[in-house]
Amino acid sequence: MTQSQETVELGPEDRAPELVPLNAIFATDFVQILVPVTTADTMTEVAAAVAHHVEGKRVRARPYEKVVIHNGRVVPAEMTVAEAGIAPFDHIAVEYLIPKGAS
């Protein structure tokens, strides 16, 4: 009798969250900062984690949605760090999504 040797590749959503330290900049802040997130965090959570250190502390808070930019593209809000392929030491920018016509 033999047992099946078949292995199953787990998707990012099935793995335990892993720490992902990021190099991040928030909007017009003056400095890049270290922000630790996890592979399971969504972009909404990542944006909040970065904003926590800067928004209303060095950059005045604005009433707009925040987005994460990675490798030059805006990453959808519900996507997780793992799904977006954001790796440790990657650079991200968090920006306000300012509606047209708003100052």
Partner: protein, 510 residues
């Protein structure tokens, strides 16, 4: 016996040398220390210092300098001058004492290396005087700083700084190990005497001396002026070395000088820029940091390198643009991460001070005013906690300083951009394009790990603010804080504010 006249013997003794017969020349002067490279060994026979000195003359002059410096110190010890100095100026001196005292000692080792491996007898002779100079500088700086320890424990960092893993001395160790400890003597003579001492110590010793006198700190001005007179002599080891290197290997000469100029400029932006434009009381400022750099560093540097047939460095435009931003960003970083400093960084952004900054740097309000305004409003809302750090700034893998250099966008907005590099399975981040290029060209050299590298490798435990401060050697009695929040925030009390982060509510538990 009649003594010979100076001119009858000096030409002979200044370059005494030997022709070895029992060992190979290479065994005495190994290439990895001497670094002659493409320069034929015999070419170094033409090395000649422009200002010649004998040992008796040296001793007499140095004795006189020491006597007068210590006499002024002794006289001022009986006055209350120190008590009347502005806190901002005291911080400038604490930065200087901590940042410089043991670098002078590192320079002793550099001079000793040239005194042993220099490729000409007269070079080795000059370096012997040079190491005596540097020993004096290490001692006088440590001694002068030590006097104040009893009155202000932060002065203890005069000696302590380079024995800690604070991020500032890590950055300086990285710079000076690259400039003094690791190079062969040819590169060392270009990096330390030619670039750093001829160019940049003027900035620290002449500009700060002027500001010290204006601020009433005669003792400090006296000390650094005395040091500068030695620098002016032993820095001349760079010139003859450069002359010979340029003739035989101009590409190497250009690279070594470009690299060391950039590293020096980054360090001075962090240490001297804030001292000149923020810490020195407004009424005592002689020139802005940019004005001083233009007058004393840039003009002189360009003339010097052109005299040797070299070109402006490839990064020149980036460097000139940075004169309007580097030290302002670094000042904001030093202030925001003030618990990691061994001085009391004053913000220096009252209305009058901002008007002065805007007059010297037309883009200052546009780039930095909005951030200071939020911090001012937080202080006035009694929420100083919001102006204290909960994470680390990202530190550049070349200069080890925070990545905080804004550049303009096409829409007029100033932003800090990423300069990154994937190399050997690792991702590196840099503060500027030139720091990235220097890292790439110099990648086989040993570089220190940045504080970020150490933190993420788990070398700092616990991995929180307390763990980081402890790793840096910070103690509650010496940790930096703003000396007077009201001095720069009271101009703005009562104005309408919005967009502030709320204060953390402390709830008492039963």
């Amino acid at each position: 016996m009649t003594l010979l006249k100076r001119e009858e013997w000096q030409g002979f003794v200044r370059d005494v040398d030997w022709t070895p017969t029992y060992v190979d020349y290479e065994a005495i002067y190994p290439e990895w220390h001497c670094g002659t490279g493409k320069v034929p060994r015999e070419a170094w026979q033409g090395w000649e210092e422009s200002y010649k000195v004998s040992y008796p003359e040296y001793v007499a002059t140095q004795r006189e300098k020491e006597s007068s410096t210590y006499a002024v110190k002794a006289a001022l010890q009986r006055s209350n001058t120190f008590q009347n100095l502005d806190e901002g100026w005291k911080s400038a001196t604490k930065m200087h004492f901590g940042g410089v005292a043991l670098v002078e000692y590192a320079a002793v080792l550099g001079e000793l290396k040239m005194a042993r491996f220099g490729l000409n007898g007269s070079w080795r002779n000059m370096a012997t005087f040079g190491q005596l100079d540097e020993m004096r500088h290490a001692q006088i700086t440590t001694f002068f700083g030590h006097e104040f320890v009893g009155q202000d424990a932060q002065y203890d960092w005069t000696q302590k700084t380079f024995h800690t893993n604070d991020w500032v001395p890590i950055a300086l160790r990285n710079l000076f190990d690259g400039m003094i400890t690791s190079p062969n003597v040819v590169d060392l003579a270009i990096e330390l005497p030619f670039t750093f001492e001829t160019g940049f110590t003027n900035l620290q010793f002449i500009a700060l001396s002027a500001d010290a006198l204006e601020s009433g700190d005669v003792n400090f001005a006296n000390m650094i002026s005395s040091i500068q007179t030695d620098e002016a002599r032993h820095s001349q080891q760079g010139g003859p070395t450069m002359e010979i290197l340029v003739e035989h290997d101009p590409v190497r000469a250009q690279w070594v000088i470009d690299k060391s100029f950039w590293g020096s400029a980054r360090a001075f932006a962090a240490l001297t820029g804030p001292a000149m434009d923020y810490y020195t009381p407004l009424e005592h400022r002689k020139q802005s940091y940019r004005e001083f750099m233009e007058e004393w560093i840039i003009d002189q540097y360009i003339h010097t390198i052109e005299d040797y047939g070299l070109k402006k460095p490839w990064y020149w435009d980036e460097f000139i643009t940075g004169l309007d931003t580097w030290h302002h960003g670094l000042h904001m970083g030093l202030w925001y991460w003030r618990p990691t400093t061994w001085w009391r960084p004053k913000a220096g952004v009252s209305k009058d001070e901002r008007a002065w900054l805007a007059s010297k740097y037309p883009n200052w309000e546009n780039v930095y005013g909005d951030k200071w305004d939020v911090m001012i409003d937080q202080v006035n809302a009694n929420n100083v906690e919001a102006t204290l750090p909960e994470t680390l700034p990202w530190l550049c893998s070349t200069c080890h300083l925070p990545c905080c250099n804004a550049t303009p966008s096409r829409n007029g907005e100033w932003k800090v951009r990423t300069w990154q590099l994937d190399y050997d399975g690792k991702k590196y981040h840099f503060c500027t394009n030139a720091c990235r290029q220097i890292f790439w060209k110099d990648r086989d050299n040993i570089n220190h790990e940045t504080l970020i590298d150490r933190f993420l490798a788990g070398q700092i435990q616990p991995m929180d603010v307390g763990g980081i401060l402890n790793y840096m050697g910070m103690t509650p009695d010496t940790m930096g804080d703003d000396p007077d929040y009201g001095a720069w925030t009271r101009d703005y009390v009562g104005r309408a504010v919005e967009g502030l982060a709320a204060a953390t509510v402390q709830v008492a538990t039963q």
